[in-house]
Symmetry: C2
């Protein structure tokens, strides 16, 4: 079968070389990366990718969001199968987050070229612009604007810390790559994104491949508990209204709520704190904390929303900071990815994504799913980000199998 042959042609050495070459554009501290979206380093990396694409006889387009499309034509003029991720990094990022998905896609094109096989449908490798959101807000800018082009007009006014707007950076990109034809959103047969897990689940389970069922939804809240600031020495306990203790009691109730709603699936974090006046000998007059609650089931998130205020003191201020619905990936694409994992002969498991990815937006446009490989110690957004080369190869093999299988579909 052709998918098996292409999978076998995936080369770990070539994949490692691709990753190493990409890492020469925008090296960061401690051996990590700092390649901000649409920076000079990013543009140089894109120029290299375009050269690679042309070596492989692929067509290249860009679009109004500076997304880059590298297309290997198929036997028939049908909507393509797409894969890809992003090549921008966090300021103190690693070499794999996003980059792995793009380089593995390129490696699949190399394997196809090496075997000189053709697929029924075209296969495209895509680089989505500014997924990290660290230079320009928001993240997943390129993929979200691709799916809903109206978003780009809003994004264009956003500034980086140097005062350069998204619009200016996009215009500079367009000038630099003026020879590339422009394209708009096209019908797509399926999108598959391969990514490192950025969490500890696969490593702890000693499973090299994950088929991602979906991306959990998230609720971000801020809670401000109000007490009465008073002298720690002169105020008897029964006359106190200690905002910190009110916050603690609320925490206990919120935790119990999340436990009741989500059980072992509970992902609840109180990460940001501010206590006022924040003095050793003064009872807290205010305690403010954040809530990050995530779940894959929209009904659980809704129940959390509805029950949250009952966990707080009556005069506490509850502010919703951010909310995103869960994404459920396409069952048919998931089924192909599961078959691909089986084809590698390696163990795999179903996993949900705790982090956001470009695939979250693509799922609103075409049948979409994701593959994960393990992250050592669950570490990401860090120069220490690492995945064993054998596992990186396995992920690229599962991707190659999937792309070919999807591209052969009528």
């Amino acid at each position: 079968m052709i998918a098996d042959q292409v999978m076998q042609a995936v080369s770990s050495e070539r994949l490692q070389r691709l990753l190493e070459t990409l890492a020469t554009f925008g090296p960061g501290i401690d051996g990590g990366m700092n390649r901000q979206a649409l920076s000079e380093e990013d543009l140089q990396a894109r120029a290299w990718l375009i050269d690679e694409a042309r070596k492989l006889d692929c067509k290249v387009w860009t679009d109004a969001g500076a997304n880059l499309f590298i297309r290997r034509e198929g036997r028939e003029d049908l909507p393509p199968v797409m894969t890809g991720s992003h090549v921008d990094t966090q300021p103190t990022g690693g070499k794999l987050d996003g980059c792995y998905g793009v380089m593995a896609g390129l490696e699949c094109l190399y394997a196809l070229a090496e075997l000189n096989v053709s697929t029924r449908r075209p296969i495209e490798v895509v680089v989505w612009t500014n997924e990290e959101g660290s230079r320009f807000s928001p993240g997943a800018m390129g993929s979200s604007a691709y799916v809903d082009p109206a978003r780009l007009q809003t994004y264009r006014n956003n500034l980086d810390v140097a005062g350069i707007s998204v619009g200016e950076a996009l215009d500079a990109h367009a000038l630099r790559f003026a020879d590339l034809p422009l394209r708009e959103k096209i019908a797509t047969h399926a999108f598959v994104e391969l990514h490192i897990e950025q969490g500890p689940v696969l490593e702890q389970a000693n499973v090299p491949l994950g088929v991602v069922s979906g991306i959990q939804g998230v609720r971000w809240y801020q809670v401000r508990c109000k007490g009465a600031s008073a002298h720690a020495g002169t105020t008897p306990t029964h006359m106190r209204r200690d905002a910190l203790l009110l916050a603690m009691e609320s925490l206990g109730r919120i935790d119990a709520l999340a436990e009741q709603l989500a059980g072992d699936d509970k992902r609840l974090t109180f990460g940001r704190w501010s206590v006022s006046p924040n003095a050793i000998n003064t009872i807290a007059g205010e305690a403010t904390f954040s809530i990050d609650f995530r779940h894959a089931d929209p009904a659980v998130l809704d129940s959390f929303d509805n029950a949250l205020s009952a966990c707080l003191p009556a005069d506490a201020e509850l502010t919703s900071l951010f909310s995103h619905s869960p994404t459920a990936f396409d069952h048919q694409v998931i089924n192909v990815l599961e078959n691909a994992c089986d084809a590698t002969g390696l163990a795999w498991q179903s996993i949900r994504s705790g982090a956001f990815h470009d695939a979250m937006y693509l799922a609103g446009h075409c049948p979409t799913a994701m593959l994960f490989v393990p992250s050592r110690d669950g570490i990401s957004h860090n120069p220490k980000e690492f995945t064993d080369p054998a596992q990186l190869k396995a992920g690229a093999q599962a991707l190659a199998w999937s792309l070919v299988a999807l591209a052969e579909q009528p």
Copy 2:
């Protein structure tokens, strides 16, 4: 009886005028005070006090710590009865903290002068330097150096935020008041400090006078709980080590310990917090908080010290920041103060002081006790600091009765 006569001669109008005049030196925001120790405003206030003392035919001394002694001679050359407090304020302080004790002492001298009575022992009104500790560290500098003069050599090197040392400020004071004779520590029959409560106890009980049994001891600790910083979205609950949750669990155990040791007397405050990296979507890698625990019984404080580390995670860092033993005031002086309160015909109650005062150090030198009057809403160190003039008068009357009764003792 002479004590009753002097008590009746105390004038609310004169006391209010004295407080208002003192408040002209160093007005602060919102109608409050900002008279830092040994500042120009403080020196001007002292010059006015010296004028007042001379109008009353009193002798005036200062000492190496810039404490000011205003002495009304007695019939016999015996150790004097002292009263007093401080006239420096917090940067956003009120008009009563410290100032009330000094002005009430001065009002007692006015009442004695008006009646033209003499007491067996001399009576001295003292201004202790830098009680607040807000310009120079530590607080209660003047009274602690008076009791143990060796302390002053250490204090002299301490700097204010402008880089001026205690030594330079004391030298400038000595130059400004070069005409004042210097004095060292003298034998003292008793010290009585009248002060606002700075807490809500008397007001809530609707009792205008408090006889202070002692000053509770205090323990200050810092606890650093160590977790593992990780992604809030990708890290399952059972793989987390959330420093914030470790801190919360510790809080529960520390609270239970304090409750067990102190019961209704518990005064436990977790006022200062720092969470790292303090981001909404990142599990806390470190959570640091302060403990302020106070009690009047040294055995309770010791038990708290001994049991505290068992309340914390094994790898938590526990740092002792400050420790002060409880002060028990002198029973005979307390008995005189109780009789003085009875003499006013007003309700009074025994109370312990939650805050530190100059009397804490004087108690190491001579028989000492304190009187409290209510603080509206328990507020102090704030422009809103307020006590009803009738209650201020009652306190000054109890003080007058006490000073005369003590000064008549053989």
